[in-house]
């Protein structure tokens, strides 16, 4: 298909579509109503639930902090609370950035720039959250062991051994998880390069 042929075919297509116009008033009216808002709510609901769980766990640790009576449990407690507060903030910020394209005022180039940069930031945050999540798993176990069961897992179980076994598993998992982000990162970089090269 040559370029000119493409143009004439496009013209044909446009004529055909013009003849077939059939969108109804009621359908347009429906499209302007609540569906989109509901969709936004659905996107945020999982993030919101995650954030509530994180903050509830952080509050639980903070209110029972005096129960953590050994230095390493206190360190684990501080790290856990910090991560539990940081995770939702990071997640909401990244989502906000990627969705904050100014559809009304931007031109196409500006929107693509915002989208690609937001995407890069989003992927960075996803990776960071993955590591923070893994660190949280390490620190929250002994803290909850102490707070819920009153047991110092470092003494009463072979926690270090589990950590040693878990590390290679986590390493493999991270490789697998990050592979899916590689393509998305590459796409965002390609768009930016294409915009810069003019």
């Amino acid at each position: 298909m040559e370029f000119e042929e493409m143009k004439s075919l496009w013209g044909e297509l446009s004529d055909k579509l013009e003849q077939q116009k059939k969108i109804t008033d009621s359908l347009i009216a429906k499209m302007t109503k609540s569906d989109y808002k509901n969709k936004i709510k659905k996107i945020f609901i999982s993030e919101l639930i995650g954030a509530l769980i994180c903050f509830a766990a952080a509050l639980y640790i903070l209110f029972s902090f005096q129960t953590l009576d050994r230095w390493y449990l206190i360190v684990c407690g501080i790290i856990s609370v910090s991560i539990l507060c940081l995770l939702p903030i990071l997640s909401f910020h990244a989502i906000y950035k990627i969705r904050s394209i100014n559809i009304l005022n931007n031109n196409y180039k500006q929107s693509l720039l915002e989208y690609s940069k937001g995407k890069q930031q989003f992927i960075f945050v996803q990776k960071l959250s993955f590591y923070l999540g893994a660190a949280l798993l390490l620190t929250i176990l002994p803290v909850m062991g102490q707070l819920i069961a009153g047991k110092d897992l470092f003494i009463e179980s072979r926690l270090w051994l589990w950590y040693a076994i878990g590390y290679p598993f986590f390493y493999g998992l991270s490789k697998w998880v990050f592979r899916k982000y590689a393509k998305a990162t590459e796409e965002a970089e390609d768009i930016l390069k294409e915009l810069e090269n003019g």
Binding site: K16, D35, K39
Partner: protein
């Protein structure tokens, strides 16, 4: 109320524009419908602030293309959209399958282009002037000319494959 009537008229007059953008930026019927609906919603949201400073079609292309970008990343979920039997985009004419196939081939070639190139070729095929394309895309007219040259080469290579 008057606004809504006027909006419905604008959408009905330009529905093919929205359809084409939705078609070029998506790969499945479901995503196409999703994007179509979202473009209409975004147009409605900004309809009040459209002050005839630019041409109506320029404004519509801007919103439609920006919405297509913001939609690139969205997770697809089923069941949020208008029922399929009510949908506007079911346009296949059984008597004209060959022509339909050629149209689909045309869309397929355009879809293979990069996100930047898709908008430029779409506007070019729609018969927009370089100046108008520059307003919509934010690229200079010279840059658009250069990019179109590259797109042409790319399409020729694609077709030869």
């Amino acid at each position: 109320m008057q606004d809504k009537k006027e909006f419905v008229r604008v959408i009905q007059e330009n529905e093919t524009l929205i359809y084409k953008v939705s078609k070029v930026y998506t790969n499945t019927r479901e995503d196409e419908q999703d994007l179509y609906q979202e473009i209409v919603y975004q147009l409605w949201k900004s309809f009040g602030s459209f002050r005839n400073e630019s041409k109506l079609s320029t404004w519509m292309y801007r919103i439609a293309l920006n919405t297509a970008i913001s939609n690139l990343n969205k997770e697809k979920k089923k069941g949020r959209f208008l029922p399929i039997n009510e949908w506007v985009l079911n346009r296949t004419d059984p008597d004209d399958l060959l022509r339909e196939e050629r149209f689909e081939l045309l869309y397929a070639h355009i879809r293979e282009l990069s996100t930047v190139e898709k908008a430029i070729i779409l506007l070019y095929l729609e018969g927009k002037s370089y100046e108008e394309m520059a307003v919509i895309t934010g690229f200079t007219t010279t840059n658009i000319g250069t990019r179109l040259g590259r797109i042409k080469q790319k399409l020729i290579t694609q077709v030869k494959k």
